[in-house]
């Protein structure tokens, strides 16, 4: 496993060097592993499949153009996440006036148990609905922490904060989510 990781890191480094030299095919190969996760991040942040696809393309183009500024002291995936997060925040701010959409079609998955699948889908829809009511920075924090599974250190690096600041903001976002979740449950019962 460790050998595979080293090989993957070396391959990634070579691809980064080739992409820096202007090889767009090397860049495509480099981001192909990260594209699904970036798309998922955009989808959870923006709540719309088309918006998420546009955000994905924009994030990749931005990453390609600013690849010269990638110093290599961070993991490439974290660096790419930071770019995607900024793109999503910008798009979320621009689309603040538009009504939120829940990407139900995108949440389909294959599970054995149909009833269990329905329960899971409902839980996912509800969380997505609650996420859409949060301010964009809080939403991004929750997605990075609980959807992408990033640590406080990684979140702090992506957002440009200290770790302690990241913890404090995340705690505030958790309270907001909890309030909105309870409010959504009350509205659902009504």
């Amino acid at each position: 496993m460790a050998t595979r990781t080293v090989v993957a890191e070396q391959t990634e480094r070579q691809l980064i060097a080739q992409a820096r030299a202007g090889n767009t095919y090397a860049f495509d190969a480099l981001v192909s592993d990260y594209a699904p996760r970036v798309y998922r991040l955009a989808l959870r942040m923006l709540g719309d499949a088309e918006e998420a696809e546009d955000a994905l393309q924009e994030a990749m183009i931005r990453a390609y153009r600013s690849l010269g500024g990638f110093r290599g002291d961070a993991v490439f995936g974290t660096w790419l996440y930071a770019i995607a997060a900024r793109v999503c925040l910008t798009r979320r701010q621009a689309a603040k006036q538009r009504p939120e959409q829940v990407p139900l079609d995108e949440l389909r998955m294959s599970t054995a148990d149909a009833a269990d699948e329905m329960l899971r889908r409902e839980a996912g829809d509800r969380v997505q609905r609650v996420l859409n009511t949060l301010p964009p920075p809080d939403r991004l924090l929750m997605v990075l922490r609980f959807v992408e599974g990033l640590s406080h250190e990684e979140i702090a690096r992506i957002m440009g904060w200290t770790v302690e600041n990241s913890r404090t903001r995340l705690l505030r976002a958790k309270r907001a989510l909890r309030e909105q979740y309870e409010k959504d449950a009350t509205d659902g019962e009504l």
């Binding site: 495509d28 594209a35 393309q57 949440l107 959807v147 979740y181």
Partner: protein, 256 residues
């Protein structure tokens, strides 16, 4: 209620990991509100787990057709074009500067015929007296790199010092001085630029400017001594019957 806030982070962690610590379990046993909160958080985490699933349809990222590949030769060509442009610009500037310096007016100072350059008197020739034939001369051939220096023996030798003798020079013949022609001076006169400093303006022209008391805007002609005398003393009778204005072509000169 205050004690419940203490367990807020622990509730999130328990919902996220599924592990409930002992102290939290003790609190949950006695607090139905926190039990309800934990249940809600566990449902939330289930929803987050659902959102973690990668969507089936992920758009392909293919930037290669969208972005032109960066090649080295356009940069080199651009840099070369910049260098060529810079060289052309500098060459044009130098050529223009040289052209301006060639066409730049430099007023020719007026020179009186008496002040024309006289041929210098030839310097008297110095001829060494031929050596006496009775004095044998020892000629030693020296290599080229050896400096010629008189030795002590040569200093004390009885060889006489050569005496220089001046010969009378012929009378210098004065060079033919061309006669001053005012009409020719008028034709060959160069315009005085308005920006020419006063120091560079010929003295007759300065005198004419002072006499006329008019601002000279464009052209003044070179004035010879006779015309200057007539300008300074207009009551004097002209030799050829022309007025000073006619002589100096003031009618055509542009005076402001």
């Amino acid at each position: 209620m205050a004690s419940c806030e203490r367990y807020e982070e622990a509730l999130w962690k328990a919902a996220e990991t599924g592990n409930i610590p002992a102290d939290l379990q003790q609190h949950l046993d006695t607090c139905p509100a926190c039990r309800e909160s934990l249940t809600a958080l566990q449902r939330t985490m289930t929803g987050f787990m659902e959102l973690r699933r990668i969507p089936e349809h992920v758009p392909a990222v293919a930037l290669a057709p969208l972005l032109p590949a960066t090649r080295w030769w356009p940069r080199v060509a651009f840099a070369g074009a910049l260098v060529v442009l810079a060289i052309a610009g500098i060459s044009f500037w130098l050529a223009r500067k040289q052209q301006v310096s060639v066409t730049e007016h430099r007023p020719v100072p007026f020179v009186q015929p008496e002040q024309l350059e006289q041929p210098e008197k030839p310097m008297p020739l110095i001829i060494e007296e031929p050596k006496k034939p009775d004095m044998p001369r020892i000629v030693q051939s020296r290599p080229a790199h050896v400096r010629h220096r008189r030795t002590a023996r040569q200093f004390h030798s009885p060889m006489p010092i050569p005496v220089r003798q001046e010969q009378p020079s012929p009378e210098p013949q004065p060079l033919p001085v061309p006669a001053y022609d005012p009409v020719e001076a008028l034709i060959s006169a160069q315009p005085v630029n308005a920006l020419t400093p006063l120091d560079a303006t010929p003295l007759p022209t300065q005198a004419l400017m002072a006499v006329s008391d008019l601002p000279v805007t464009y052209t003044l002609t070179q004035v010879g001594p006779e015309e200057m005398q007539q300008l300074l003393h207009p009551e004097a009778t002209p030799e050829d019957g022309r007025t000073p204005g006619e002589r100096t072509n003031f009618g055509n000169a542009s005076l402001g």
